[in-house]
C-alpha cells in the first residue's frame, strides 16, 4: 500500500513537460507582454515576453493553462503544441473563464445558463449603482430604474417575477459573500439601494446565474437568480500597473412632459368657465335665465378665484408672468465628477489590487445629491506551496441628500402642478411666493434637509489549502457591515414642518456575517475525462438593528436636527436576525470535452422556516453535448462550435420575513397598564417558495467564429407561494401565512455576437433580446391588490401586475361626456356601471439591448440601444394634470388643449371644468403604451498613440466623450423608464410626478502607467 502510493508520488514528480506559445491582443493582433501564464491547479507561473511568447513547464495532473492580464478577460485553454492565444477585453471567447458559485469554469464547458458582463461595460458609467450598467447587456435580465432621483432602489428581474408577497430581487454575492441589498432607509420615503455603496470601477466581472443548474448551488435563495460580482485582483509576477480614471459629466432630464404655458392656461380656464356655464344652463342646475348669464357667472368665479387670486396682482390677461415650474424643479446641467485611482500587481508570492475613488453626483432634480468615496484592498499571499491566504476588503462612505417621496405635496416633482401665472417670488415682498395653488414646495426645497450617510465595509478573509494536487480546501470568513445614519429636518415655514418645525433621526446597522468552507476536487483521467467536484458548507447570519425618533416644536430653524426639537412624539427600536445553514455538493464530469454532465445538490436550513420544514433540498442536473466535436459534425465546416445543453433543478425563495411561522403577541401601551395583544397565528409548516426550472440551450459559432450566439428556452414553475389565508375573525385572527399559490414563467433568450468587419477598421455587433411570459396560477381565490391609483392585481390566469379598472373608450361628441366600456361591452357615460376589466400589464414582453462597436486606428466608437415592448405605463398624476380641472385647478398637460368644446366635436379629451368636467375618475384614460427604444450610450474614444505614450512612460491613455440616454422613442408622454413604486411585485409602471431619467454627457480620461 505504501509502495503503491510511493510509486504514485514518484511518477507524478517525474513527468514534466514544456509548453510554449504566443499571446496577442484580439483587437489589433499586437503582442501582449507581461501576461500571467499559470498551469491550472499548480503554483508555477511565468510571464509572457515582449514579443508575446511564453514557455512554461507543467507536470501531469493538469492539462490546461490559465491566462490573465489586467484589463482582459481571463482565459483557460487546454494545453496544445504552440498555443496561439488571443486575449480580449470585451469579445466573447469560448475559453473565457466564468465565475460560478464556489468556483470557476470555462465558458465552453458550461451546462447551465450564465450571462457574463465584463468590467468594460460597467466601469465609468455615470450612475451611482452598477446595476444600471448591466441593463440591456444580459438577455433575460430586466433592470428597471424607476426614477431619475439618485440612490433609489432598482428593480431587477431575472426571467420574470416569481413571487407575489416575497421579495423578487436576485441574490447578490461579492467575492463569495452574500451582501445586503435591501433598503435600510426610512420607510416613509422611497427605498434606497445599498448596492450603490459599491464602486463599479472595482468590478472585474459580473456573472448572472439564470437557470437552475447554475443557481441551485445557492439553494433556498436562488429562485430569483443570482448575481455574482467579482472584484479585480492582482496577478503574480506582474509589474505594478497604475490606472487612473476620471470623468466629468453634465446631466439634464432625458424626457420631460409638455405642460401648457400661461397664455394657454388662461385660455383653458376661460374654456372651463364656458363649459361649466353651458352645462349648468343646459341641465337647469342653478336655474340661470339665459346661457349668457350662466357663462358670465362662471367666468367671474374663475377669474376671481383662480386667475386674479393666484397671479398676485400681475397681468394674467397678457401673460405678464409665465413661470415654467417644470424647469424650476430640474437643475440645469447637473454636474457629476469622478476620480478613481488603482494599482495592481504582484511578485511571486503576493498579489494585490488597491484602489481609491471619489464620486460626486448632483441629480437633475434639485436638492438631490449622491457622493461617495472609499477604497479597496484585495490581497493574496502564497505562504507555502500548499497554503495561500488573503483578504478582499473595501471601506466606503456614501452620502445621499434626499427629497421626499413622489406622493408628498412638498416633493419637487409636484411643482408642475403649480400655475404658470403664479410668480416664483411674491412681487409685494420679494420673498418666495406663499400664495400658490398648493403649498409651494420651494419652501421645503429651501429650508428642509434629509441627509443619509452610510459607512459600508465589505470584507472577506480567506485561506486556500492544497491538500494534494487535485484536492484543495478553501475557507472564507466575511462580513458586510452597513451603518446608516439619517437626519432629516423640516423647517417652520414649510408645509412638512406644519408651522412648528419637525425633525427625525434613523440609525440602522445591518451586518451580514458569512462563512464558506469547501473542498474542490479537480482530476483529469488519462482518457481525457475530467471530474470536478465541490463539497462544502456555508453559514450566514444577518443582524439588523435600528432605532429611530421623531420630534417637533423647534424654537427656530437654527438647529437642523432632532436636538433642536422640544417634544419627542415617537421613538422605537428594532432588532431582527436571520440565519442560513447550508451544505452543498456539486460534480461536473466531462467525457472527451464532448459530453458534459453536471449535478448539484444543496440543503438549506434557515431560522425563517417553520420547525416542520427547517431543511430544504435543492437538487439540479444538467447535461451538455458539444456537437461540433463529433466526427459527423467535423464534416460540416459551417459550425465552428455547436453545443446543446439542458438543465433542470429546484431553487427556493427564502424572502418570507422573520418569525412569520410563530404565533406572536405584541406590546400594547395603554396608560399605566402595559400589556400584550395577539398579533399573528403560527404555522410550523411555513417554508420557502419553490421554483422548478427547466432550461434548454443552444450555443453556436459559425462563419469562422465571426457569428456566435446562444439561445435559451426556459420554463419556471413556482409553487408554495406565500399567501395570506383568510380565517374567521372569531378566532381572534383574520389570516395566517401559508405556502399555497403557484405561478409560471416561460421565455426565450437570444444572444448574438458578430464580427462584421475585422480589418484595420473593425466593427462588431452584439444583440440580445428576451421574451418572458408570466402567468399567475392558483392563489386560492384571493384578491391581492397593489398600485398607486389605478388598481393592479394578481389575477389567476393573468400575468402578475395587470391593470384592472374601467376602460375609457372615448368622448360622446354631443355632450363631451367621457365614455367607458359597460358590462355589456357598449360605451356608457355612467362610470359606476362600467365594467372593470383587465386593461394591460406593467411587465414587458420583449426586452433587449443592441450594441455596435467600431474601431479604427486609435479611435473607438460604441453605440448601445436598449428596448422594451409589451408593457403599459399608468400616469397616476393624470387625474390631476390631465383631467381638465375637475380634481383640482392644477396646471394641465398640452393634450387638454384638444378638449371637447361644442356638440359635434370629435376628440379624445372629454369636457373640462372644475364643476362639471367629465372623465376625471381612474380609468384607462391615463394608461399608455410603454414601449420604448432608447439610445442608452454612445461613446467616442481616442487612444493616444503608443509612441507618444512611451515617451512619457505611460502604457496607454484614452480620452473619450460619452452620452447616456441621448435619444428616446416612445409613445409615452413622459420618461418611459418610470416606476414610482420601484420594488414591488404587483405594482409597477406607475408614474406619479416621477422624475425623468437623466441625459448625461461625460468627458473622461483613462490612463494606465
Amino acid at each position: 500500500m505504501l509502495c503503491a502510493s510511493l510509486l504514485m508520488w514518484v511518477t507524478m514528480y517525474a513527468q514534466n513537460r514544456t509548453v510554449s506559445g504566443k499571446i496577442t491582443d484580439a483587437k489589433d493582433s499586437s503582442p501582449l507582454s507581461g501576461v500571467t501564464v499559470k498551469a491550472k491547479g499548480q503554483t508555477n507561473v511565468v510571464l509572457s515576453q515582449q514579443d508575446g511568447s511564453f514557455t512554461i513547464t507543467i507536470s501531469t495532473g493538469t492539462n490546461s493553462l490559465e491566462f490573465s492580464y489586467v484589463g482582459y478577460a481571463d482565459l483557460e485553454v487546454p494545453v496544445s503544441v504552440n498555443m496561439n492565444i488571443r486575449m480580449s477585453a470585451s469579445e466573447r471567447n469560448l475559453s473565457e473563464v466564468v465565475v460560478v458559485g464556489y468556483g470557476r469554469a470555462v465558458k465552453r464547458n458550461l451546462t447551465g445558463s450564465i450571462s457574463k458582463v465584463g468590467s468594460k461595460e460597467v466601469e465609468n458609467f455615470p450612475e451611482p449603482s452598477f446595476e444600471t450598467a448591466i441593463q440591456g447587456k444580459a438577455a433575460g435580465v430586466v433592470v428597471e430604474s424607476g426614477s431619475g432621483k439618485l440612490g433609489q432602489g432598482i428593480k431587477i428581474r431575472i426571467r420574470g417575477t416569481s413571487s407575489i408577497s416575497a421579495n423578487s430581487q436576485p441574490l447578490y454575492v461579492i467575492d463569495g459573500l452574500p451582501v445586503i441589498s435591501t433598503s435600510q432607509s426610512d420607510i416613509t420615503n422611497d427605498p434606497t439601494n445599498p448596492l450603490a455603496d459599491i464602486n463599479p470601477n472595482d468590478i472585474e466581472s459580473i456573472e448572472v446565474l439564470k437557470d437552475a443548474s447554475a443557481s441551485a448551488i445557492y439553494g433556498a435563495r436562488a429562485a430569483n437568480g443570482v448575481v455574482l460580482i467579482t472584484t479585480k485582483k492582482g496577478r503574480n509576477n506582474q509589474k505594478t500597473t497604475f490606472e487612473l480614471n476620471t470623468y466629468y459629466g453634465i446631466s439634464n432630464p432625458a424626457r420631460t412632459r409638455k405642460f401648457v404655458d400661461a397664455k394657454q392656461y388662461v385660455n383653458l380656464i376661460e374654456l372651463a368657465a364656458v363649459s361649466d356655464g353651458t352645462y349648468d344652463f343646459n341641465n337647469g342646475i342653478s336655474g340661470y335665465a339665459t346661457l349668457d348669464d350662466a357663462i358670465s357667472d362662471y367666468k367671474s368665479w374663475y377669474e376671481t378665484n383662480v386667475l386674479d387670486n393666484f397671479s398676485l396682482g400681475t397681468d394674467w390677461h397678457n401673460a405678464e408672468v409665465n413661470t415654467d415650474w417644470q424647469d424650476i424643479l430640474y437643475k440645469d446641467n447637473a454636474p457629476t465628477k469622478n476620480i478613481d485611482l488603482s494599482a495592481t500587481g504582484g511578485n511571486e508570492k503576493t498579489r494585490f489590487y488597491v484602489s481609491g475613488f471619489y464620486t460626486d453626483q448632483q441629480a437633475i432634480v434639485i436638492n438631490n445629491r449622491f457622493y461617495r468615496y472609499g477604497g479597496r484592498m484585495n490581497l493574496e499571499h502564497q505562504a507555502t506551496s500548499n497554503l495561500s491566504f488573503g483578504i478582499n476588503m473595501s471601506v466606503n462612505r456614501s452620502q445621499l441628500n434626499r427629497v421626499t417621496n413622489d406622493n408628498s405635496f412638498s416633493t419637487p416633482g409636484q411643482l408642475v402642478a403649480q400655475l404658470p401665472i403664479s410668480p416664483v417670488y411674491d412681487p409685494q415682498t420679494g420673498k418666495l411666493n406663499g400664495n400658490t395653488l398648493y403649498a409651494n414646495g420651494l419652501f421645503d426645497a429651501q429650508f428642509n434637509s434629509d441627509k443619509q450617510s452610510t459607512w459600508r465595509t465589505i470584507g472577506n478573509a480567506f485561506a486556500n489549502l492544497t491538500i494534494i494536487p487535485s484536492l484543495s480546501f478553501r475557507s472564507e470568513f466575511g462580513a458586510d457591515i452597513l451603518n446608516l445614519y439619517q437626519e432629516a429636518f423640516q423647517g417652520k415655514q414649510t408645509q412638512d414642518g406644519a408651522g412648528i418645525g419637525k425633525a427625525n433621526v434613523i440609525i440602522s446597522q445591518a451586518v451580514n456575517f458569512n462563512t464558506n468552507n469547501y473542498f474542490t476536487y479537480d482530476h483529469q483521467f488519462n482518457n481525457n475525462n475530467k471530474l470536478n467536484a465541490v463539497l462544502g458548507m456555508s453559514y450566514l447570519q444577518n443582524d439588523s438593528r435600528g432605532a429611530s425618533a421623531n420630534g417637533e416644536n423647534v424654537p427656530s430653524d437654527a438647529i437642523k436636527n432632532l436636538s433642536g426639537t422640544t417634544l419627542i412624539t415617537f421613538a422605537n427600536s428594532t432588532n431582527n436576525r436571520y440565519t442560513f445553514l447550508s451544505y452543498f455538493l456539486r460534480g461536473n464530469y466531462s467525457i472527451a470535452d464532448k459530453y458534459l454532465f453536471s449535478g448539484s445538490i444543496r440543503t438549506d436550513a434557515s431560522s425563517r422556516f417553520g420547525p416542520n420544514n427547517r431543511y430544504g433540498w435543492f437538487p439540479a442536473v444538467s447535461a451538455g453535448w458539444v456537437l461540433s466535436e463529433e466526427k459527423f459534425m467535423k464534416d460540416i465546416p459551417f459550425f465552428n462550435f455547436l453545443k446543446l445543453r439542458a438543465s433542470w433543478g429546484l431553487t427556493g425563495n427564502a424572502e418570507i420575513g422573520e418569525s412569520n411561522f410563530l404565533a406572536l403577541y405584541g406590546v400594547s401601551n395603554y396608560p399605566d397598564l402595559h400589556g400584550y395583544v395577539p398579533v399573528s397565528l403560527g404555522n410550523s409548516d411555513l417554508k420557502w417558495e419553490k421554483t422548478a426550472q427547466t432550461d434548454i440551450g443552444l450555443e453556436f459559432a459559425v462563419l469562422n467564429s465571426r457569428l456566435s450566439g446562444e439561445i435559451d428556452v426556459y420554463q419556471k414553475k413556482t409553487s408554495d407561494l406565500l399567501l395570506n389565508v383568510n380565517v374567521p375573525a372569531t378566532t381572534s385572527y383574520q389570516s395566517y401565512l401559508k405556502n399555497l399559490g403557484n405561478m409560471d414563467n416561460k421565455g426565450i433568450e437570444v444572444t448574438l455576437n458578430s464580427k462584421n468587419i475585422d480589418g484595420a477598421f473593425k466593427w462588431t455587433t452584439s444583440l440580445n433580446f428576451a421574451y418572458n411570459k408570466n402567468k399567475v396560477g392558483d392563489i386560492g381565490g384571493q384578491i391581492i391588490e397593489a398600485g398607486f391609483d389605478l388598481t393592479q392585481r394578481a389575477i389567476e390566469g393573468q400575468p402578475i401586475g395587470v391593470f384592472y379598472d374601467r376602460k375609457f373608450v372615448g368622448v360622446d361628441p354631443q355632450t363631451g361626456d367621457a365614455l367607458y366600456q359597460g358590462e355589456d361591452g357598449k360605451p356608457t357615460s355612467d362610470y359606476n356601471s362600467a365594467a372593470r376589466v383587465v386593461l394591460g400589464k406593467s411587465n414587458p414582453d420583449w426586452t433587449g439591448g443592441f450594441t455596435n462597436t467600431f474601431s479604427y486606428k486609435g479611435f473607438d466608437f460604441n453605440i448601445f440601444f436598449i428596448f422594451q415592448t409589451g408593457n403599459d405605463i399608468y400616469n397616476s398624476g393624470g387625474a390631476y394634470m390631465s383631467d381638465g380641472f375637475y380634481n383640482g385647478l392644477d396646471n394641465q398637460t398640452t393634450d387638454i388643449l384638444n378638449a371637447w368644446k361644442n356638440p359635434g366635436d370629435i376628440t379624445n379629451v372629454p369636457r373640462i371644468g372644475y364643476f362639471y368636467g367629465s372623465g376625471y375618475q381612474t380609468s384607462s384614460r391615463w394608461l399608455y403604451d410603454g414601449n420604448y427604444i432608447r439610445l442608452r450610450n454612445a461613446t467616442l474614444g481616442y487612444n493616444l498613440p503608443k509612441s507618444l505614450m512611451q515617451r512619457i512612460k505611460i502604457t496607454s491613455a484614452r480620452i473619450y466623450v460619452s452620452g447616456t440616454n441621448l435619444w428616446t422613442s416612445t409613445k409615452y408622454p413622459g420618461d418611459p423608464e418610470v416606476n414610482t413604486q420601484t420594488l414591488g411585485n404587483i405594482g409597477g409602471g406607475q408614474d406619479f410626478y416621477t422624475i425623468s431619467q437623466p441625459k448625461t454627457i461625460t468627458f473622461g480620461l483613462n490612463v494606465r502607467f
Partner: protein, 478 residues
C-alpha cells in the same frame, strides 16, 4: 533517493495530518451553528413565554388597549350607534363613505366599520378566554380580581356585539333570533379548522352569557381599583344597561342603585367638568384613558378626531341643528339648560361650518363610558316602569331632577316614561345611548326608520360570511 522521498512523504503526512486536525476542529465548530437556526423574535413574544402571573396580567391589560382602540370605546362603539340614531343629534358631513353609509342606514356588507367592530370584539373576548385559561398562574390573592376583570371584558364586549349585530331584545322571539357567536375557549395559536366555524347563538343565549359574566365580575371585582381599572360598580353599571334592554326593571334598578349608593362617585358641580379630563372624573364609573402616545387616533380615527372642529380634529361630526333657530338638537332644551349651549362654532376639514359639541373637543383626554348621571336616570326610569316601592328609596322624580338640577334645567313635578327618554337624550347625547334607549322601548329612530328596521343593525362582515359558511347574514343585507 527513495529514502529522501520517504522522508518528504513522512513530512507531508505530518503536515497533512496537522491540517486535517485543523479542518476537523473547524467542522466541529461549524456544526455547532445548527443551534443558530433558532432565532427568537426580539420585538414580540411567543405564547410559551407567558409563564408568570405578571405575563397573564399583561394579557389582561392588553384588553384595555383593545377597548381604547377606535374599533372599541375609543370611537366606534360610541359613535356608530349615534350615527344610526342621528336625527336631532349628530350630522356627519365628512367624505368617508363608510361613515356616511352608517348615517344613511345604507351600509354594505363590505363595510370596514362592521368588520372592525366585529374583529376587535372577538379579539377582546378571546384575550379574556386566554387569561381565564391561565388563571392558575395568578397568585390566589389576585385571582378573583383577574377573573372578574377578564369576565368584565368578555361580558361587556358580547353585549356590545349583540346590540350592534343582532335584533334588540325587545324585538320578537329572543330564543330564535340569531345573536352573535359565543366563544368561550381560549384561542389556538395554530389555525384549527375543526373548531373555527362557529355559528350565531340566539339573542337569549348571548344575554344569558353576558349576565353570567358580568354578575360573576361584579362579585369578584374590588370596589376600588388603581389606574382606572374595572371595578365591581363598572360591572354593575353595564348590568343595569343589560337589564333595561330586557325590561327587567327590578334588577336594573338594583344595579343602578348599588352604583349610586357605593358613595364612590359624585356628580360634578358643572356639566363641563365631566368631560375633557386627564383621568376619570368623580362622575366616571368607567372611562377609557388616553395620552399623547396612547390613544384612539388623531388623524383619521378616534371619537375626538371626528367631533372636534378642524384644525384640531376633522370636524366631520357636527350637531344636527342650529342654535340660532332652535332647530334639531337645540329644540330639546330649555334656554337656561347648560347642556344646550355646551357647544361651539367651527368648521370641518372640508370647510363646512357648523356647531360642535364641547364633550369631545380636546385630544389625549379620557373617554367616559359610563357616568353616574346615567345611573340616576336608569334607577329612576326602572323604578317608574316597575312601579311599587322604588328600589333605593328615592322616587323616580327625585332621580330625574338631580340630573336636571346639575345643569340648571327646571325641576319637573310630574313625569312619565317619555320624560326619562328625553332626559337621557339631553344628558347623554353624543355618548352612544340614544339608539339603545329608543330600541328597547320600540320607539321610532327617526321619521323613516322603525326601531326594528333591518338597516339599524350592522351587517355580519362579508369576509366572515365568505370564510365561515355557518354564519347567517342579517335579513336586510341578504
Amino acid at each position: 533517493m527513495l529514502g529522501g522521498k520517504l522522508l518528504s512523504l513522512k513530512k507531508l503526512n505530518m503536515k497533512t495530518l496537522k491540517y486535517f486536525f485543523l479542518l476537523f476542529s473547524a467542522i466541529a465548530f461549524i456544526t455547532a451553528c445548527n443551534k443558530k437556526l433558532d432565532v427568537l423574535p426580539q420585538q414580540n413574544i411567543t405564547p410559551d413565554q407567558i409563564q408568570t402571573a405578571d405575563d397573564v396580567k399583561a394579557l389582561l391589560f392588553g384588553n384595555y388597549s383593545l377597548f381604547q382602540n377606535f374599533d372599541g370605546f375609543g370611537e366606534r362603539l360610541i359613535f356608530i350607534s349615534d350615527l344610526l340614531a342621528a336625527q336631532d343629534q349628530v350630522d356627519f358631513v365628512g367624505s368617508f363613505t363608510n361613515y356616511k353609509d352608517v348615517q344613511n342606514k345604507a351600509m354594505v356588507t363590505t363595510s370596514s366599520i362592521a368588520l372592525g367592530i366585529w374583529s376587535n370584539g372577538y379579539q377582546v373576548i378571546n384575550l379574556s378566554n386566554t387569561v381565564l385559561s391561565k388563571i392558575d398562574l395568578i397568585d390566589s390573592s389576585e385571582r378573583d380580581q383577574i377573573t372578574g376583570e377578564a369576565k368584565f371584558f368578555r361580558g361587556v364586549m358580547l353585549f356590545e356585539l349583540v346590540n350592534y349585530f343582532a335584533q334588540a331584545y325587545s324585538d320578537g322571539n329572543v330564543s330564535t333570533n340569531p345573536g352573535v357567536p359565543i366563544v368561550l375557549n381560549a384561542p389556538k395559536y395554530v389555525y384549527d379548522s375543526t373548531t373555527a366555524f362557529v355559528s350565531r347563538a340566539s339573542v337569549e343565549d348571548v344575554y344569558n352569557q353576558v349576565i353570567s359574566d358580568l354578575t360573576d365580575a361584579a362579585a369578584k371585582l374590588p370596589d376600588f381599583a388603581d389606574n382606572a381599572r374595572a371595578t365591581r360598580y363598572a360591572a354593575e353599571a353595564f348590568l343595569a344597561r343589560v337589564y333595561m334592554n330586557m325590561h327587567d326593571y327590578a334588577n336594573a334598578a338594583t344595579m343602578a342603585n348599588d352604583v349610586i349608593e357605593s358613595g364612590n362617585y359624585n356628580l360634578v358641580s358643572t356639566f363641563n367638568q365631566a368631560f375633557n379630563n386627564v383621568g376619570n372624573s368623580p362622575e366616571d364609573v368607567f372611562g377609557i384613558q388616553q395620552t399623547a402616545q396612547s390613544n384612539a387616533g388623531t388623524t383619521n380615527n378616534g371619537i375626538i378626531t371626528f367631533y372636534a372642529t378642524y384644525p384640531t380634529g376633522r370636524g366631520d361630526a357636527q350637531i344636527d341643528g342650529f342654535l340660532d333657530d332652535n332647530s334639531g338638537y337645540f329644540s330639546h332644551f330649555e334656554d337656561q339648560d347648560y347642556r344646550k349651549t355646551y357647544v361651539y362654532v367651527g368648521e370641518s376639514i372640508q370647510s363646512i361650518p357648523g356647531y360642535y359639541t364641547s364633550k369631545w373637543s380636546a385630544f389625549y383626554k379620557t373617554v367616559p363610558v359610563v357616568r353616574l348621571a346615567e345611573m340616576y336616570l336608569t334607577r329612576g326610569e326602572a323604578n317608574l316602569r316597575k312601579g311599587g316601592a322604588p328600589i333605593g328609596g328615592f322616587d323616580p322624580i327625585d332621580d330625574i331632577n338631580i340630573v336636571r338640577a346639575r345643569s340648571g334645567a327646571s325641576l319637573l313635578s310630574d313625569i312619565n316614561g317619555f320624560d326619562f327618554v328625553d332626559e337621557r337624550f339631553r344628558e347623554l347625547a353624543f355618548e352612544g345611548d340614544r339608539l339603545w334607549t329608543l330600541k328597547r322601548l320600540k320607539l321610532p329612530i327617526d321619521d323613516d326608520h322603525a326601531y326594528n328596521d333591518g338597516f339599524l343593525l350592522l351587517p355580519i362582515p362579508q369576509r366572515e360570511i365568505d370564510v365561515n359558511k355557518n354564519l347567517e347574514q342579517n335579513d336586510a343585507y341578504k
